[in-house]
Symmetry: C2
Subunit: 224 residues, 2 copies
């Protein structure tokens, strides 16, 4: 029997690639979207389609109302900045403790379904200044996970897999294309229109567009 | 101005004592209940009253539907065992990754409101075999928190306070009584009736009853 894994899936380019990677490594994948009150529900419908297309055995959405927390343009009523200058500061689209919360929920689900492997498509190269995309953070979370759970107490081990952490956007796109990801389904934009067409201007749109250019792969994204 | 703190408040005896402790230490407290789909909503109404009585400046409930996760008697449709033999095994009432999830949400809220101190009423003495109540777990989570957030990146520090971690139930009750906690409001029982009266038989009821006896303080709990 294949080992089970939980794969965090947002509906974006990176997490879809992480799911294809996990599947290709031989894991039986349960895809998980943590819906933290995003304004764009279209991300979730895309994630479900991607999970099916990439052969996940199950797809779960767990809702956590992070709008109660506020403090980010992605969950509160703060406009998403356009054409922000790329610098070293932490951007306003940073959601407080997002990856910690998402990994915690993935950990709970893993323990409940008997999985010991969690995949997350974080990336330290094009990480736009998010502190919770760095290898040090992932390592600390993995250690916490093994102290937090039955699995850890009973002598076994959780592994947090970050197959994209050292890849450029172009390398991620090349990898996913090889593994059969249909990137026309993925949605990276922070501010798509109602049909799910990307704005082409926000940070992630810019990084994504450059990625396809650098990979020499035609960009299937539908822009407004 | 006082420093802000986030205090995890379940409505039980331990977390109410932790809130009174944080307040007494001089923190301006935001109480937080993470509603992980418990079957007993009465816990939440009690938590709100306790937060008000103990002078929290704000009270927040953040809902996360952990019934989607399952795997525990507290969130899935598994009957809560009565009169379980106390032994070293992890009980069925263990919720997968519960404290990791609750601390992650508290971390997000802390970052959003500008708090750097989180209080949680975990206890390693009467911890009923939960792995995520141990000092090693708390230490690992604190390290993770400081790698996960703006505060950590910008050189400051989060602290996870566990004022009850080495206290017996009797010592907790003595401490809270000194700090003015009205324990008749707190609800520890895993299986109260609709009026919020405790069953008197589950693990936490037994520990709580013994605690009052050992503290030599009259037990104000209403039992069925």
């Amino acid at each position: 029997m294949k080992s089970k894994a939980v794969v965090l899936l947002s509906g974006g380019l990176d997490s879809a690639t992480a799911l294809a990677f996990a599947k290709n490594e031989g894991f039986d994948c349960c895809a998980l979207t943590v819906d933290y009150g995003q304004r764009n529900k279209i991300e979730i419908s895309r994630a479900k389609i991607i999970a099916e297309k990439l052969g996940a055995f199950n797809y779960k959405v767990i809702r956590i109302d992070m709008r109660q927390i506020g403090g980010s343009a992605l969950t509160a009523d703060i406009p998403v900045p356009k054409e922000r200058e790329m610098d070293d500061s932490i951007p306003i689209t940073y959601v407080p403790a997002r990856n910690t919360i998402m990994l915690s929920v993935a950990l709970g689900l893993s323990e409940a379904i008997g999985a010991q492997d969690i995949f997350i498509g974080v990336n330290a190269v094009d990480y736009s200044g998010y502190p919770d995309c760095r290898p040090d953070f992932i390592e600390a979370f993995e250690k916490t996970a093994n102290l937090a759970t039955r699995v850890g107490v009973e002598g076994d081990k959780f592994t947090i897999h970050t197959p994209l952490i050292n890849l450029s956007k172009a390398e991620i796109i090349k990898l996913g294309t090889k593994l059969g990801v249909d990137y026309s389904l993925t949605l990276s934009c922070y501010d798509p229109d109602k049909q799910g067409r990307a704005c082409g201007k926000c940070d992630t749109c810019v990084l994504r567009r450059q990625g396809f250019e650098q990979a020499g792969i035609p960009d299937p994204t539908e822009y407004v």
